[in-house]
Symmetry: C2
Subunit: 129 residues, 2 copies
DNA sequence: TGTATCGTACGAAAAACATCGTACCTTTGG
DNA sequence: CCAAAGGTACGATGTTTTTCGTACGATACA
């Protein structure tokens, strides 16, 4: 029954950084222009702000980039799954003292979790043995 | 359709604020001194830092306080459950596009989620019908 | 070939968060 | 009554995160 510290390689992405990661996860390796356009679909951001963020992300080692063209292509270093698992782990540890079942109870008790979702989860569990 | 006219949207607590909330959740309404002592069990914090944070939390409406005594007693406005549900909800939406079962899959795939936890979850689900 | 357009680099301002020092008030005990 | 101990208030400062202006190089094309 351990809920140890996450053996954390990479620094935790900030909120703004996460937004960018999600675009890259959804659409694959992209230019700053592309990411910025997507972000602007949600809220107003200046191009250079996004550029800066992505440069920082790269400094931190969260993104890498292909500079062979003038329009640099940015790519997440870690797979979406791995990063999300890390974030989830931290979340569970912080809010639920590492107890996944505790978290589950809240998900199941949440009205926003649909019957369909619950059925999905059940099937998942049954298929695990 | 849910009956909820004022979908209570309190500002998201910051990291430092969450630490304080957790103490209050665990030990109930407390003085700054008490909370600060608890925090100092984990890391060094100056008394006035904790005081300030708790004052800010109060300004934000996340805590309220009983000022009838010199030693003010601080109390979370919302129940632990409610706040956690809110945070969880935000988490699921942000990282899993609202899909609880997606999140589940990761929890179950996570080695840190013990067999025991999984059994716990199964029992939970079965007892739900 | 000149100029408008689109790109990167990067410092610095702005905003959000966190910490602390100091002033000052109340209570307590000798 | 006075000093020590312990409380609150709050501005100032430090840090991190976010945003943006400006400089300047490459590209496109009229």
């Amino acid at each position: 029954m351990k809920s140890n510290q996450t053996e954390n390689n990479l620094p935790e992405p900030t909120k703004a950084e996460l937004e960018i990661l999600q675009v890259l996860w959804e659409f694959g390796p992209s230019t700053v222009r592309f990411v910025n356009d997507k972000l602007n679909g949600q809220r107003e951001v200046n191009y250079t702000s996004t550029l800066k963020q992505m440069q920082i992300l790269t400094e931190k080692g969260i993104l890498k980039r292909d500079e062979s063209q003038m329009k640099h292509i940015y790519i997440p270093v870690e797979a979406e799954e791995k990063t999300k698992v890390q974030l989830l782990d931290r979340f569970v540890n912080t809010l639920y003292k590492g107890s996944a079942s505790q978290l589950m109870m809240q998900l199941l008790g949440n009205e926003k979790t649909s019957k369909q979702e619950i059925e999905e989860i059940k099937r998942l569990l049954d298929s695990m043995d």
